[in-house]
Symmetry: C2
């Protein structure tokens, strides 16, 4: 194990990497900015520079082909999943990154086990796939709606851990982010959506139904994180009230994970050295 | 029909939008720069500005959900398909754009009709999908290898036209680009790949086999364009010796196509106007 860096120390309170009975989500302040320089403009410039660095790392990941990267973005409405996609992944060529936005399963999908449709979407060699919502949503929603019994919930989380372990063992780096928003900030963002005629289409009456179950969702998220934070697929709880700091934390963590892989451009056939093309 | 603009006039010689018996690919100069300002740096800055404009148009396309955009990129090795993805589509959020890189079909894919795997990958409402190579490759390769008889080739192209017409009729805008490179420029680019240790992995001994069939590929491309340039899915032949001008031409054409759609943000539910969130 490498010696923990300053970054590791700062980020440790936001990481959960070993299954436990409880996880104190409420202890994490959604407005915290542990990685900020203290200057918003400087943080924003750092995010932009990181997005370009991540693009270069993606190019190496793609060429190297030993690894795959699966990024899971979970969080309630307006917590910033789309913004993360734009600001952290938005400088990569579409050649190497793919986003999968999960909706409620179709009839054909319901006719299979819950991991069937997920498995079809996981990254191949050299690829980055971002799950915009994920297989976690398929457990969180029925838990809150009361349609999944506690024993079945535990079973599902064990199945997730097994599935994610298999992905890890076959070369997939898994980074799971829970975008942790305060209830107040969600109110402000939903209101802004309503008040802006160009954004009103994003507003869904269901968002308010979900908002009324705020505490149930916080509880369900805490239980999900407790059960599925593993060595092979840890959770990072990202304070999400600040958009810039949210991007900064996710980008720094992804950069660290990709740099750890020591990605290399393959050498190419040595017989080609010095060859002239006609 | 709107009155042809200056852009339409300049680009007309590079468009093919009605099936014909022959298409004179050789008459198009791969080093032409009909849309250039004459200043390379200025052209490059325009491409960057267009990539940002295309990102904004993509956001509207996604919100509007009346249309889908399918972009086909065809061209020989080093003609610039990956570079186009990076420079023209690289500023869009992965949320709204998806790249499909086609390889030789698998056994399961060969067990179906040739359009089966293609159909699964076409864009859904509001989506942009870029085919990096495409269903055309599945005809061009066997034509050059001599394993597809002329009558079967004609049948395939009729099937492509029918398939693309159906996509057009169901809301898909189809833009097909043939990246038209000179044999000399390909030699330079292949040599540069070989000489750069970080790029040598991209070099495939098969690239030289294909290069030896240069004239056969030019002939096969000309026949494909002649047969499948339609009103609903026209071809644009993009001079590809200049990377910047290639990006400029593609970006300008896509901008024009998207602007024609008069994309709008949906109004949202009028009952939501003035609502306060609690």
């Amino acid at each position: 194990m490498p010696k923990p860096s300053k970054f590791d120390t700062l980020i440790a309170p936001y990481r959960h990497a070993a299954p436990s009975r409880r996880f104190a989500l409420a202890a994490i302040d959604p407005s915290a900015k542990p990685l900020s320089s203290g200057d918003g403009d400087r943080d924003k410039a750092q995010v932009e520079a990181l997005a370009v660095e991540l693009d270069a790392l993606q190019d190496r990941l793609y060429a190297d082909r030993r690894y795959k990267l699966l990024v899971v973005l979970q969080g309630l409405d307006t917590s910033g999943k789309d913004g993360t996609l734009r600001h952290v992944f938005g400088r990569m060529s579409p050649l190497g990154v793919r986003c999968v936005s999960w909706k409620a399963p179709s009839d054909a999908e319901r006719a299979h086990d819950p991991w069937w449709r997920i498995h079809q979407a996981v990254p191949g060699a050299g690829e980055i796939v971002v799950f915009n919502r994920s297989h976690y949503e398929d457990v969180l929603v029925p838990v809150v709606q009361g349609t999944l019994a506690p024993a079945d919930t535990a079973l599902r989380y064990r199945q997730i851990n097994d599935f994610e372990r298999m992905l890890h063992e076959t070369g997939t780096v898994i980074c799971k982010f829970m975008l942790h928003l305060s209830k107040d900030e969600q109110r402000r963002r939903l209101q802004a959506r309503l008040d802006d005629p160009d954004k009103r289409w994003k507003f869904n009456a269901d968002d308010l139904v979900v908002r009324r179950r705020w505490n149930d969702y916080q509880k369900a998220y805490a239980a999900a994180i407790a059960a599925t934070g593993t060595r092979w697929a840890p959770w990072t709880i990202v304070p999400a009230d600040s958009k810039t700091h949210r991007n900064l934390m996710i980008a720094l963590l992804l950069k660290r994970e990709l740099e750890r892989l020591d990605l290399r451009y393959p050498a190419g056939d040595p017989a080609l050295r010095g060859k002239r093309i006609r």
